[in-house]
């Protein structure tokens, strides 16, 4: 499974894709930082909502691995299950970094 599948953005030219990915990186960077803080405090409803937002944005741009990990966090928060914050944040950051590397390596933001 590719780390970033741009199929959903196929209607757009490279300038618009560049703009979309730039907004995605800025927004999700902030969201993951906030989520890291929330995960330490077990605020399930806030965690669920923010994880859901990351899922939506990531599915829309085609960042499937980021979406999957965020969906797992959302699911656990929904069930008010214990969340291993260190493990999840590490996985989420890892997947998100892979997306960013892919974007920069392929010069998708210019």
């Amino acid at each position: 499974m590719p780390i970033l599948n741009l199929y959903n953005l196929k209607e757009f030219d490279s300038a618009l894709i560049s703009q979309i990915l730039s907004i995605y990186i800025t927004d999700v960077t902030k969201d993951i930082e906030r989520l890291s803080e929330l995960l330490k405090s077990n605020q399930h409803e806030e965690i669920r909502r923010l994880a859901h937002k990351i899922v939506g944005a990531s599915k829309t741009v085609g960042a499937t691995k980021v979406a999957e990990i965020a969906e797992e966090i959302e699911d656990k928060a929904e069930k008010k299950a214990p969340i291993n914050d260190i493990q999840f944040i590490k996985s989420l950051n890892g997947a998100f970094n892979e997306v960013k590397e892919h974007i920069y390596k392929n010069d998708l933001i210019h």
Binding site: N8, E11, F12, L16, I20, D27, T60
Partner: protein
């Protein structure tokens, strides 16, 4: 394909609204596209518009949003709609696939359930069903 007057996009995720707005623009299916970041912003817009403004034909609605979520939006919208004769298609657009949420959305009058991401194909199917 007939061109709609107005499409509303209601989602707290800026990336999703931005992409969907550009997708709809690219398809040329609406004269105007309006974006709101939660249900309350959209309800305020419904409350403040007057009959001289173009009608709203279609709403893409996220469910999980802060301030006012999609369910609360539907409840508030139906209270307002009693005063209006306009027919608006509301399509739920979410990354959640919980059956419970779909059932509640159905009871609240959501006509369509769509999973993110919104695509040209999904919009075309919606148009075939409601506007052809």
């Amino acid at each position: 394909m007939n061109k709609l007057k107005r499409i509303l996009l209601i989602d707290d995720d800026f990336v999703t609204n931005f992409i969907n707005e550009n997708l709809i623009k690219e398809m040329g299916i609406a004269e105007e596209i309006l974006c709101f970041k939660n249900g309350k912003e959209a309800i305020d817009f419904f409350k403040n518009r007057d009959s001289s403004q173009p009608p709203i034909d279609l709403v893409f609605l996220d469910l999980n949003m802060p301030v006012m979520d999609g369910f609360q939006f539907m409840e508030a919208y139906h209270k307002l709609e009693k005063k209006s004769t306009s027919e608006v298609i509301v399509a739920m657009l979410t990354s959640s696939s919980l059956e419970k949420e779909k059932e509640i959305a159905d009871q609240l009058g959501v006509q369509e359930h769509l999973n993110k991401p919104l695509t040209k194909e999904k919009i075309n199917q919606l148009f075939l069903k409601y506007y052809s």
